[in-house]
Point group: C2
Chain length 243, copies 2
């Protein structure tokens, strides 16, 4: 059987992986991925063949995994977090039609929104949105529209890719849009860096202070809804059972 | 140490659980939860003490887990999917301040949005919202506001709790709001029932047809953004790498 697994590894090392992810990686002849993610799984599968491409070569990585499977070897393409949320499942499945003999199975994983929320408390206890602040593939105007819509809907908001080396001010710009859209500067917020990895750090703070927070590409940011609160050192959005 | 774990079990049986979830359940002296979820984990931990409360008694279940820990036993409170997304982490942490000697650790899991998306393809490849259609704890007016905001932001939309015995028409009402808000009747949509469990079924369809779909409380529904498409039998939202 010609098969590709697209596998979400979860937030960190082996403890964050599902049993299904581990099984898929065991069954794969070759594991493909960005070097950083291969380094996470290599110690679990000593001797397994690993193949990487540079960070920005997402489509090449998908094609590599599909070509391996078309050639008769079972391959696994790994991503951190979930396979589908800004992950490799979408670009790989876009190409999969060119490989009619290859079966694709997507193995979901714990995305940073869920893992980061667990570190901070339970901010995602009610309806929420996830928005990436990376404008590499999305015009900033679309990002701004989504931030304003999140405020209009009183959603809890989880922000991915709040900064990079070349986009140091995206979180500040996003916070200014949220404030301009009517969100209170006292809105309960938080961030987590290096979720589930060495050097995990986090902070709870108001939206006014979040605007000036120093974050990087390994940080996930949470902006509360009007019901989110900081209580006993945790970020919480009540579901409403006690109301 | 007086400890409560709040554990997200993921979508189905043992394969959907993370290693961290399994470790937490091993360390617990008592596992608490709604009967249906206890039945999922009981075969994995033969002989382990299990305690349940009826479905609607969420606050009682939280208090049971906290009381056990306060009395010196390590407890685990389990939920399906993630611990935080409409799960037990939020109500338990709201009560945790009353038990200052009890440490709480939230163990995240794969929520239905991620697991259902993996079944259908990669619908969550770009910014998305999750909205519950249950109006037990949320006024329908708030739900409607969020649906309209999701359309305004051109988000992919994942709907939880699209129906129950007493709310048979909520998905139809939601679809009519989405159409009224300007979403095309041709929008690519899908649903998955019994994700990761026996009897898993799914369907891809347009928004016009989703309005008349028969769904139940074990169904998770996906409504695409303007970029989502049905391709090679899969629901896909491109991330944009090829654009």
């Amino acid at each position: 059987m010609n098969k590709v697994y697209v596998v979400g590894l979860g937030p960190g090392g082996a403890q964050g992986m599902t049993a299904a992810a581990r099984t898929a990686l065991e069954q794969a002849d070759v594991i493909c991925g960005y070097t950083v993610y291969l380094d996470l799984v290599a110690p679990l599968f000593p001797g397994k063949e690993m193949r990487s491409t540079p960070m920005t070569k997402e489509v090449d990585r998908c094609r590599m995994a599909l070509e391996l499977a078309a050639g008769g070897r079972t391959s696994a393409l790994v991503c951190s977090g979930d396979a589908g949320v800004y992950g490799m499942a979408s670009p790989l499945l876009e190409l999969a039609g060119e490989y009619p003999d290859v079966e694709v199975e997507v193995i979901p994983g714990v995305t940073a929104a869920l893992a980061g929320a667990a570190v901070l408390g339970a901010p995602l206890g009610h309806d929420f949105c996830i928005v990436s602040l990376s404008d590499l593939l999305t015009p900033w105007k679309v990002i701004e529209k989504r931030l304003r819509a999140a405020v209009a809907g009183d959603f809890i908001l989880c922000l991915y890719n709040p900064a990079s080396r070349h986009r140091k001010d995206h979180l500040r710009r996003a916070c200014e849009i949220l404030l301009d859209a009517g969100l209170s500067p006292d809105t309960a917020c938080g961030w987590v860096r290096n979720i589930g990895r060495e050097g995990q750090t986090s902070q709870l703070l108001t939206l006014a202070r979040l605007r000036d927070a120093q974050v990087d590409m390994f940080t996930t940011v949470f902006v509360g809804s009007t019901r989110t609160k900081i209580q006993d050192g945790r970020l919480l959005t009540p579901r409403g059972y006690r109301a």
